[in-house]
Symmetry: C2
Subunit: 339 residues, 2 copies
């Protein structure tokens, strides 16, 4: 089924190394032998065994991607960016899901760290960020395996990082709402231990402070991470009928909130405006369509892959310098606000 150099050598009654060289068109081998070998190899569809090459080169040409979730649009686009770029440079992508669990994150990394991959691209699970335990990352980097963190990062690990300026994104969005005359702007977020939620909350507060509106803490709703416990949103709106604009840290909260508002007879954006994060299908096809802070996931994936592969292929001699690349968020204006 699977033909090897040895098979060819036996069949053609030459040595293995002759076959190897012939297939590489080496000058050392006679035209005659080369033709014979190459023809035979082609006929039997010989392809070198990747595993053997990996063992020899100590390079697998695989990169490990560990993310909390694959169903959400943002991570999906990041994977796409990684895959495209990595493939173009001859790398395969092994995807592991932590499902927001610390233990799974650890297990996945250990599974891959034993030679299966040349480096990691990852975004931390919420549980990991909550615990603040990054020993599994430390072990990996100490083994000399390059790591690139994106989106959900930590400062406790020295490695390359790619993020968008979440604080700026929230700031821009909030400012936009203020410009349009909104004065009672709510924030629907998740727990602060998520690095991104924290940054977004800061941007929101900063915009309110800078504009002189001031922060009303009661207008900030924090929901348990990604549990999509949307019940909380309904109660929140009951208690805050005065709210005239809402910033949400993801598109699901935003679209769900819009529906609640509409069911209460409110007009969007006349009575109340909405802005979310993540420029996915939901935002685009919601009714009304949702204005969002675009996170440029695909670009983020590409850059992460590039940083990782550059490091993997770089000279080991170079002294280690770690970069944090920050992408600019973009406001995508749609019908959930005035324009």
């Amino acid at each position: 089924m699977k033909i090897t150099l040895k098979d060819i050598a036996r069949e053609l009654e030459v040595s293995i190394s002759t076959v190897s060289k012939a297939l590489k068109n080496s000058e050392e081998i006679s035209r005659d032998t080369k033709e014979k070998v190459q023809a035979f190899a082609k006929l039997y569809n010989y392809k070198p065994n990747n595993i053997a090459i990996s063992l020899k080169n100590k390079r697998t040409k695989n990169i490990g991607v560990v993310i909390p979730d694959i169903v959400h649009h943002f991570f999906t686009t990041v994977i796409r960016g990684i895959e495209k770029y990595a493939n173009a440079r001859g790398y395969n992508v092994i995807v592991c899901l932590s499902e927001e669990s610390f233990d799974k994150e650890v297990i996945n990394m250990e599974m891959l760290a034993n030679g299966s991959i040349d480096g990691f691209i990852m975004s931390l699970s919420s549980e990991t960020q909550q615990k603040g335990d990054y020993n599994h990352l430390k072990e990996v980097t100490e083994q000399g395996i390059p790591v690139v963190l994106f989106d959900r990062i930590t400062n406790e690990i020295d490695c390359d990082k790619v993020i968008i300026d979440d604080e700026l994104g929230a700031y821009m969005a909030t400012q936009k709402l203020i410009e349009q005359g909104r004065k009672k702007i709510a924030l629907i977020s998740t727990d602060d231990y998520l690095s991104v939620s924290k940054a977004r909350t800061m941007g929101y507060k900063k915009a309110l402070t800078d504009s002189g509106l001031g922060v009303d803490e009661s207008r900030i709703l924090k929901l348990p991470t990604m549990e999509m416990d949307e019940m909380g949103i309904k109660d929140f709106f009951e208690e805050h009928p005065e709210v005239d604009a809402v910033l949400c840290v993801n598109e699901i909260f935003a679209v769900y909130s819009m529906r609640l508002a509409q069911e209460k007879g409110l007009k969007i954006p006349e009575d109340i405006s909405f802005i979310g994060f993540t420029d996915g299908f939901l935002s685009k096809y919601a009714y009304p369509s949702l204005t969002v802070v675009a996170q440029h996931g695909e670009k983020m994936g590409e850059i992460s892959a590039q940083m990782l592969i550059d490091k993997v292929e770089g000279e080991k001699g170079e002294e280690e310098t770690f970069l944090t690349k920050t992408l600019e968020p973009t406001l995508v204006i749609r019908d959930s606000i005035f324009h």
Copy 2:
């Protein structure tokens, strides 16, 4: 950084094979030596190199997943199902995207078929189904690499397959609309060369015929695959103001169509009903929420992974028998139809 058996052997001044056995708690080795070796291994965090083991065992414990697209919800859930199941059995998942391109599909498979994986799980790209060229699949199966096809399959390849009964799904959906008194039911589909679109179209027609309503071909709109060329939909509705219900082969077409209807002042479901395929975020959070034929992607992924791994780990001796597993679709009733 990365410690090997050889390193331990050198350091402890024993042979490599002694170390290997000691770490496996072999009875042949003295308690003394075992303790020494195990302590040392633990201290330096020894882990066997997966690549070397793969080379020896001719088993990589990796499975290759080749899909047309990762952004769409259905494929995303399938991956999740595969990943969960595969991980539980100690396998990693290498994801490759064909982006609906025949060439990319071929390249990806060749890349993985040279020893990187133990088997494939895949769904065909639209271009592949259009061309009807399955030689890359034939080559792989002839090499003895197990393949499981899911969702977008072909009968030209002998391998395990997992699908949902698309015809039945469309039939159930159409029948539901008929039961509710709808008489002018449109279908928005993609080109027939996609196996799933074809099956769904058949189910739609069958339901109309069985009920005596009859098929009006002009009420069937076929859009170029996945191009999301939604312009076509607008024109279609202009030309068919009589339509009182619409079945769409995906949730994007359905949600987009609902918006067009609403913009024309139609009430859903009073004036017009909608049913889509794929039970994703869009359907759930659309306004009104969309009734869909659920495809059970996660289950499909699990089953695919199970079939593949069973085959991979099965005795080579067994005579080959290939199964096609058909899952039952489910109608998820939401506000876009009466209930």
